[in-house]
């Protein structure tokens, strides 16, 4: 097992009192596996990633019964040990590549710097290696691009540079936090394919965080859907997509535009959406976190929080008292 997270809870101490962003989150990742993490903004996806990187701000309190990467206990690391881990064992790429690169330094400088932190090599070797990395991520004219500054690159190119930086030390786990959200649709596909490609070549594990179910459906082995800091549904990608039972997952799937369908659709019909907003984490609803927005909610849902339960015969777990029985429904989606 590569990553093991048990009962991870992240609380922020704010002026107006504690705010729990992630609650009792448990999940595992195997070597070479691709996990898709899906959810709206503010559901705790990015916070979880930052916790795995040890990059949470000081006012965040992390607790877990177990949190380990390759058997290494992450809960007891000091800042120096975190530095050795970051970028080497686990690397991260971010949503907006243009702002994630330092505008004051050339692409080459930033790549070489990354190589030099974790490996004993001369600057000229690092320069050669960075050229090699630029080629691997499919950047044309890599030699010239090394001298370029971030503002001289397109968004897609900048994200390729970010990927090159992230894989430079051959991490075991690559966390891609909304890697394509800020990019054009045509570029999105290229970047996702590049990520898959690199993952296969290097036998890395990839955590693909996104709010776009279409992205994870095609590129992941497993999916976990998060809502208000909790996993609401998790399982093999095919099972979750085709046999989604949690009303939230179902809502996300229904809200996904489908090119094949839109031709047939009446122009006046609207794309279905989930009503309401993610709950305010200071005033969490009682019972199921999703019940205020759920059109199937019953009294039980309002009183007691449901547990994540595995559906028999299928590798998927749902946090819902009344899972939807629409296994037949969504096969056309993907």
């Amino acid at each position: 097992m590569l990553l093991d997270v048990q009962n991870l809870t992240i609380t922020f101490n704010t002026k107006t009192g504690p705010l729990t962003a992630v609650r009792n989150l448990s999940f595992q990742m195997e070597m070479g596996e691709t996990l898709g993490v899906v959810g709206e903004s503010g559901c705790g996806k990015s916070i979880t990633n930052l916790a795995i990187m040890g990059l949470l701000p000081p006012q965040a309190v992390t607790s877990a019964t177990h949190l380990s990467l390759e058997g290494k206990n992450l809960l007891s690391l000091n800042e120096r040990e975190w530095q050795c881990l970051r970028g080497k064992d686990v690397a991260m790429i971010f949503q907006d590549p243009m702002s994630a690169l330092n505008p004051c330094y050339s692409v080459g400088d930033q790549l070489i710097e990354t190589l030099l932190v974790h490996a004993e090599m001369s600057r000229s070797d690092a320069a050669l290696e960075s050229l090699n990395l630029m080629e691997q991520v499919g950047i044309p004219a890599p030699k010239e691009r090394l001298k370029a500054y971030p503002h001289e690159l397109s968004g897609g190119m900048a994200q390729r540079v970010m990927i090159a930086m992230a894989i430079s030390s051959n991490p075991k786990l690559l966390i891609a936090d909304e890697p394509t959200t800020a990019l054009d649709v045509t570029i999105q596909d290229q970047i996702l394919r590049l990520l898959k490609d690199i993952q296969e070549k290097r036998q890395m594990s990839l955590m693909l965080v996104t709010h776009d179910l279409g992205v994870v459906a095609q590129n992941t082995d497993r999916i976990q859907v998060m809502y208000a800091g909790e996993v609401v549904e998790a399982g093999l990608t095919q099972d979750v997509i085709h046999h989604s039972t949690h009303p939230y997952t179902f809502g996300l799937l229904a809200g996904h535009p489908d090119a094949r369908k839109s031709g047939e659709r009446n122009h006046k019909s609207r794309l279905p959406s989930i009503q309401g907003m993610v709950p305010n984490l200071r005033q969490r609803p009682k019972g199921c976190q999703f019940h205020p927005r759920c059109s199937f909610a019953q009294d039980t849902c309002r009183l007691e929080a449901p547990q994540l339960t595995v559906t028999p015969g299928i590798s998927r777990a749902t946090r819902c008292y009344y899972p939807l029985n629409r296994g037949e429904g969504r096969t056309d989606q993907c």
Binding site: R86, F94, S99
Partner: protein, 336 residues
Amino acid sequence: MLKAVLKKILNLIPTLLGVSLLAFLLIRLVPGDPVMLLLGERGADPQMYTEMKRNMGLDRPMYEQYFTFLGNIFQGDFGHSIVSKRAVLTEFFDRFPATLELGIMAMTFAITLGIPFGIIAAIKRNSFFDFTLMGAGLVGYSMPIFWWGLMLIIVFSVKLGWTPVSGRIDVLYEVDKVTGLLLIDSWWSEDGGFAAFKSALSHLILPALAMGTIPLAVVARMTRSSMLEVLGEDYIRTARAKGLPYARVVIVHALRNALVPIITILGLLFGSIITGAILTEMIFSWPGIGKWIVFSINARDYPVIQGGVMMIASLVILTNAIVDILYLWANPRMRH
């Protein structure tokens, strides 16, 4: 980059022309007649007065006077002082090293303390250190130089007797002018280099402190706010995610970006250093251009004032051009 630099330099020409016009006009707007002042209260013989006025060229129309002034400047002639009869440029360069030395010292004081203070305040945001520092910064910023200078003299020179009250160096030391900067020249003094250097330094400390306090406060506050902004940027998170040590993240990744507004402020501060020099030099009897200009204004020494102001303004403008070029270095996005 080179093209951008050349463009900056070409842009200076209209500014300098504007400055020359202002320098010329402003002194003529001040009441008082240089001829009368020169002749003294008793000797106002009308014939002598007209003759003297003609000799100085002050009887001709304003625009003619201006163009003569401008034409002479282009030939490197800034005129001669009415009082001392010496060339304005010679007088200027006699006194300029003193002001330069003071200014460099004040700016060094402001930068070497202000930037680290600002960085620490930003990293330890809302801590006791941060509050103390920013509070002190606000006080420093609001302090009038003349009052602050006098207070420093009262405490350190009069009460404690640690530093001399005024001047650049003890009269005991005979220092030959090489660079004009006493901290350097004093080493070759006949009466023992180190003692002379110490004397020059002890004379320099208080005025530099007085003059550098406002820039120090400005630099510290600016560094803090600029660093706070930069530390929240995505690329700082990237730098940390790469596994860089925090010190490197702060100094290499954050500070370099935070420097852009700081450099801009430093350029503007250079102008205020000159203003500060006028006050500081008066209080500490520092024989620099600030004091020189004040005396010349009192004497209505037109050539010195317009020539001196022209030289000072050119220096400030030149510094700002250098700052702009530094700005290009700090911010690659500006190079196009």
